[in-house]
């Protein structure tokens, strides 16, 4: 009986177990209680589009024939170059997965990826790379082809190997190979369209980038769509190598700064990379906007024609440099958005002096009016006329400063004028429109001028462009004769030894502080703003290298 009872009991248990199993399988899934300590996983809309404002239209998309900032930004998204600079400024793979440079620095061999296609679906090979470079060298008046150096030959040695042979070493070649100017283009389309290529039919703009040109209404808006086949994004810069996490990008052209700021505050624009100073308070107050400070490698400076009296005397140049209060200029002219500069390269940018302390520490010129006056007196400018202007042999200490007619340049010029006045130097401002100013400086009849330079692309090689005698009348508008500096500038371009190159730049910085052909005025910061619904737009360097927007995600509404 007890045995039977045991069997019955076992049967009942088995039945209960089986029913339980079936019941569990059929029961609706019980939702787990969310753990309040764990952050909720955000949801993203991968079919969303974003709108970016720009102040000026890209005049042409022929990237081999323009240096326009809007064209650069567009081609960061539409195309790819052979290599791209990583965060430290070193070339890293993009279209080329690897490369060799011959010991003599004359032959660059690139090994091309075999999985890259153009937007049109055409497979990219080394022959396309060769054709793209050939076309670049043949573009009449191309403002960038000279950055390649003296090219002896270009050759696709097989389907996936491309070779550039130079007549002389040219270290700076990486700057242009890694920039949008070096984008590999589908030349077949260019041949088809002739002169109109880059300006007319959107479907002929054929690149390999993460976005494709879908529509372009000039001076109004440009629409880019995601390239669904894109998987070759640069690993050195992005975790997501493609495709992008957003479906569409619209660039809206809004020239007026006030209007642009109103649009982003309203939520119609999602990214503005250069918030105008006057609008910064209202943009920072807007709750739905996130702001990011950009500290680009750029500088505004006062250039001096070292052949024009009285500035042909280095003591006068140095006196003026000591008289200028850079901290005040940053406050007044840039609304505090920037830093006072004491060297050409901004601390922290690639190429900046690696020594500690700086190898040009002793030469740094700081604000010191007494030192300025002492230098002027040493130079013989000891008499003072009724207006408080210093004199020497009956000559007044005076000069002319040529500036553009923008508000920033005028305020900056007036400040310089007042600093000079404090040490007894009379500066006349010669204000003119930008186009007229460039022509005036090229004619070399200037004494002083103010200008800005961005060196994100050329890096320290910018010093070669600005100070090598072969670059007169522009961009070398300083006319300083200095054999040692010229030799060092040339060495920096040809030496295969990176350490020697770095030392050369340090010594050049030192010479520039000793000779004062230019006076550094400000390192400028820019404020970028984006809508809070964008995650990871990577705008930290957007003012000089626009991101490929592979990481950005849009939070679902």
């Amino acid at each position: 009986m007890s045995l039977l009872d045991d069997r019955r009991l076992a049967l009942v248990c088995a039945l209960i177990f089986a029913v339980g199993i079936i019941g569990m399988a059929c029961a609706p899934e019980v939702e787990e209680e969310p753990d309040p300590t764990e952050p909720e996983e955000p949801e993203y809309d991968f079919d969303a589009g974003i709108v970016i404002s720009r102040g000026e239209e890209a005049e042409t998309l022929d990237i081999q024939n323009t240096t326009h900032a809007s064209a650069n930004t567009t081609w960061e998204l539409l195309g790819d170059s052979l290599v791209i600079f990583d965060e430290e400024g070193n070339p890293s793979p993009l279209i080329a997965e690897d490369w060799d440079v011959s010991d003599d620095g004359l032959v660059y061999t690139f090994y091309i990826r075999d999985d890259v296609t153009f937007h049109s679906g055409k497979e990219l090979t080394a022959h396309d790379v060769e054709a793209s470079f050939e076309r670049w060298l043949s573009v009449e008046g191309s403002p960038t082809r000279g950055d390649l150096g003296e090219v002896e030959s270009l050759e696709a040695t097989d389907d996936y190997t491309f070779e550039i042979r130079l007549e002389e070493p040219h270290n700076a070649i990486w700057n242009v190979l890694a920039s949008p100017y070096g984008t590999i283009l589908n030349v077949e389309n260019i041949d088809e369209e002739g002169d109109d290529w880059g300006t007319a039919r959107a479907e002929l703009i054929d690149g390999t980038g993460p976005f494709m040109l879908a529509d372009w209404r000039r001076d109004d808006q440009m629409v880019l769509e995601r390239n669904e086949d894109y998987v070759w994004g640069p690993e050195a810069l992005y975790e997501n190598t493609g495709p992008a996490n957003i479906k569409e990008i619209t660039f809206r052209v809004i020239p007026e700064e006030t209007t642009r700021a109103a649009e982003i505050r309203r939520g119609n624009i999602h990214i503005d990379t250069g918030v105008p100073s006057a609008e910064i308070p209202s943009i920072k107050e807007a709750e739905h906007l996130v702001t990011i400070m950009n500290r680009p490698p750029s500088l505004s400076f006062l250039g001096i024609n070292c052949e024009a009296a009285p500035l042909d005397d280095v003591k006068i140049r140095k006196a003026l440099a000591h008289a200028i209060n850079r901290e005040e200029i940053v406050e007044v002219v840039r609304d505090g958005m920037g830093d006072p500069p004491y060297s050409f390269l901004r601390p922290g940018t690639p190429g900046y002096c690696p020594h500690d302390p700086l190898c040009f520490e002793d030469e740094i010129i700081r604000y010191d009016v007494d030192q300025a006056i002492e230098l002027l007196e040493e130079a013989g400018w000891t008499e003072v006329d009724d207006d408080g202007i210093r004199m020497k042999d009956g000559e007044r200490l005076e000069s002319t400063l040529s500036i553009s007619d923008t508000e920033t340049a005028v305020v900056q010029g007036e400040l310089v004028q007042s600093y000079a006045r404090e040490i007894g130097m009379d500066i006349e401002l010669n204000t003119m429109e930008l186009a007229a100013l460039f022509e005036h400086l090229r004619a070399a009849d200037h004494e002083m001028f103010t200008m800005g330079v961005g060196y994100g692309r050329r890096g320290p090689d910018t010093l070669y462009w600005y100070h090598h005698p072969g670059q007169r009348p522009a961009p070398n508008r300083f006319y300083l004769e200095h054999d040692e500096m010229t030799e060092l500038l040339e060495l920096s371009r040809v030496t295969p030894d990176e350490e020697e190159r770095q030392e050369a730049f340090c010594r050049i910085e030192q010479i520039l502080l000793e000779e004062v052909p230019w006076i550094y005025l400000t390192y400028r910061d820019y404020l970028a703003a984006h809508d809070e619904k964008l995650e990871n737009p990577q705008l930290e360097h957007a003012m000089y290298t626009f991101p490929k927007l592979l990481e950005v995600k849009v939070l679902s509404e």
């Binding site: 005049e59 209404r217 001076d219 006030t258 022509e439």
Partner: protein, 316 residues
Amino acid sequence: MLMASYIVRRLLQMVPVLILVSVFVFFILHIAPGNPALMIAGPDASIEVIEEIEAELGLDLPLYEQYLRWAGNVVRGDLGRSLRTRIPVTEELLEYMPNTLALAFVSITISSILGIIIGVISAVRQNTPLDTGIVFVAVSGISAPSFVRALLLMWVFAITFEWFPISGRPAGPLFSLPVLHAMALPALALAIGGMASLARLSRSSFLEVLRQDYVRTARAKGLSERVVQYKHALKNAMLPVITILGFRLGAMFGGSVIVETVFAWPGVGRRIIGAIGTRDFPVIQGAVLMLATVYVLVNLLTDISYAYVDPRIRYD
């Protein structure tokens, strides 16, 4: 027949006017400092690159030769290519011009209707507080620069009340609802100046007509004041107003340069501003020539319309 010969004569008179405009604009542009090749190549370009561009664009030729070459092409209907975008100027202008003409059309329509209504009300209520108020507002409207009007309208109606888009031109046909909605504020910004001067002119013209003998006769006949004012006086008061409508178009084109920039409206005015900054000579010359042609033609239409408004005028 007489009218046809008058039109032909006026059209022929256009030719020297346009030649003078083209010569004036061409030489002013070329005499002003600023080299387009330098603007294309960038301020840091080498002499070789600049010379290459100058040769490619024909900027190295003597000035008279450049003009003759350009004028010869214009006669053949070719306005050249933009130095910056490389697009044929005709193609560019055909892209931008409809937006500007539509803006001018809507703006003139607003300013005419409202300007005349306000002017007539002001005249009918002469020397009342309403009249004084209208005169004050009209003078303020004439005095305020177009960019102030544009920013003020944007701030009130687009930013504060959010009734209109802040800027831009939606895709779609010119007179579709979304485009007209976006066009409202720029058109109003342009219209206010014209509206104010039209109101002042309508007022004085209407008052003058009301003092005429035939108005007195009409009143003596026992006609009601409403019939006297709106049937007899108004039509005659409109003649000087029509004259100024043609001239207003020139002011509209001038104002559109600023208003189109503020509202990011892709029109010819904005294109000209960009072209001046970069010294894009063919675009400036082509745009000015085209605007001058439209201006002269509209004034011709204005003259012709006199005949219909005032039967006393005959074109013989």
